[in-house]
């Protein structure tokens, strides 16, 4: 027999597969590339606007996949899937493409509140599995509420930048709507923030009572209204300097890709970040 050791990323990936399968999600394997046109028309939905391209032997311009969700919607459109894939993006402030490993799930179709609750639960359980005993937190917000408040606002991008940065002085200086300022400054514990949530979101959060110590209602999770339209969430693990999990509801994208009246929700866990603990991690 050969002895071998798994890297922390490989170990996390296997644990996550076990978790998602135990909740009835099927493994989805996809091609590493799609035709460039598929992404070019949907750049609003991509976190990185740069796309790594190459010309196929038949002369077609192809792209190395910058995003998983778009491909899963294109090729399936409904069902519960999990994946373990690489994506190719230029991270913010980087000057070159990076290969990024991510595991995650997509849940699509005519969804019930119980489906949304299950995805949030899986996000928390994913954090538990990879936290290695460290504390973790899942920030949850409702992008739909922000969208409603900002309807007709000309400075949406600037307001969202302030919201994502907890920049209350900035929001006040630009006379952002009071309702939005209140969302930016709420006490994030679920028990205290229920009055600020829609009935549907409050019902979902209420159904996750056993995780309330790790759940935060934090509207800084909404940094764009292009991709997500309902629930948006970000997961953090103590000692890892950035969000290691990111997800949300993408009904708008489902509709734009031809799945009328269908909804979608999912998240990705950025496995490369597992090794990025900071030195000052006390």
């Amino acid at each position: 027999m050969f002895n071998f050791r798994l890297t922390p990323e490989e170990e996390a990936s296997l644990k996550l597969r076990g978790l998602y399968e135990s909740y009835g999600y099927s493994f989805y394997r996809m091609k590493r590339f799609e035709e460039y046109d598929f992404y070019a028309g949907r750049k609003d939905f991509l976190t990185s606007k740069s796309i790594l391209t190459f010309t196929d032997i038949n002369g077609k311009l192809m792209a190395l996949r910058p995003d998983v969700t778009l491909s899963v919607i294109k090729h399936t459109g409904s069902g519960k899937f999990y994946y373990d894939e690489k994506v190719y993006r230029v991270p913010r402030n980087a000057s070159t493409f990076h290969e990024i490993s991510q595991s995650g799930i997509e849940c699509m179709g005519h969804l019930q509140p119980s489906d949304l609750r299950e995805v949030l639960e899986l996000a928390i359980l994913s954090l538990h599995l990879i936290a290695d005993g460290k504390r973790c937190v899942l920030d949850v917000a409702d992008a739909g509420q922000v969208s409603r408040i900002l309807q007709g606002n000309d400075d949406t991008a600037v307001v969202l930048h302030c919201l994502a940065g907890k920049n209350l002085h900035g929001l006040k200086a630009m006379n952002a709507p009071d309702e939005l300022v209140r969302l930016a400054e709420i006490d994030s514990h679920p028990e205290n923030s229920m009055p600020y949530l829609t009935t549907e979101t409050a019902g979902i959060i209420d159904g996750l009572k056993k995780y309330h110590d790790e759940l935060r209602i934090d509207f800084s999770a909404v940094n764009s209204l292009n991709y997500y339209n309902g629930l948006v969430f970000r997961g953090f693990i103590e000692g890892i300097p950035e969000a290691i999990l990111s997800g949300g509801q993408y009904d708008k994208m489902m509709n734009m890709m031809g799945h009328k009246d269908a909804q979608g929700i999912g998240f990705a866990v950025y496995l490369d970040m597992i090794g990025r603990r900071t030195l000052n991690d006390d």
Binding site: R92, K166, N167, G170, S220, F236, G239, P241, E242, N280
Partner: protein, 206 residues
Amino acid sequence: MINVALPKGRLGEKVYGLFSRAGYDFPGMLEKNRRLVFENEALGMRCFWVKPFDVPVFVERGTADIGAAGKDILMERAPDVYELLDLKAGKCRMSVAARNDYHDDPGRVLRVATEFPRIAQEYYSGLGREIDIITLRGSLELAPVLGLSDVIVDIVETGTTLRENNLSVISDIAELSARLIANKSAYKFKGKEISEIMRRLQEVSC
């Protein structure tokens, strides 16, 4: 332990003054020596001087939990951090300046000399104006005087340097001052301590 990154130089000393008035003292911080890291065990805090442009990097990457950075640097680097408080120290403006006898020709590509290419690009993109950015590291006033650029995008405090070189402000882009920033993940797990620091700094900043 809360790790704090402060910018070396005049702005950093002003901000350290606020920390000190708020009850956060780090013995030796203002002495002329080459030490960079200062610890106050009783407070459970460690403070370090870094180059002003690098404060957001230390905070974004989690080496520092919080830091103080000029709004100009935050606009230019656009780090993914929380901007929790306007410390109101080092107030000045980011402005566009040109020679006193300058007349804009909207039919030409505007030559803009600056140390802040992202800020200049975003400002002129908002105006729908095509520009040619000339990135310089200091002595910006020379650029329009010697004909290297039409305008400069730069920090203006009193305007004395501009006046002495026959330049004047033609438009303002943003009000600047030092801001308290926090690493997003640190804020989740050290939120209580960071909020207390923020509350005390708010009391002494005006």
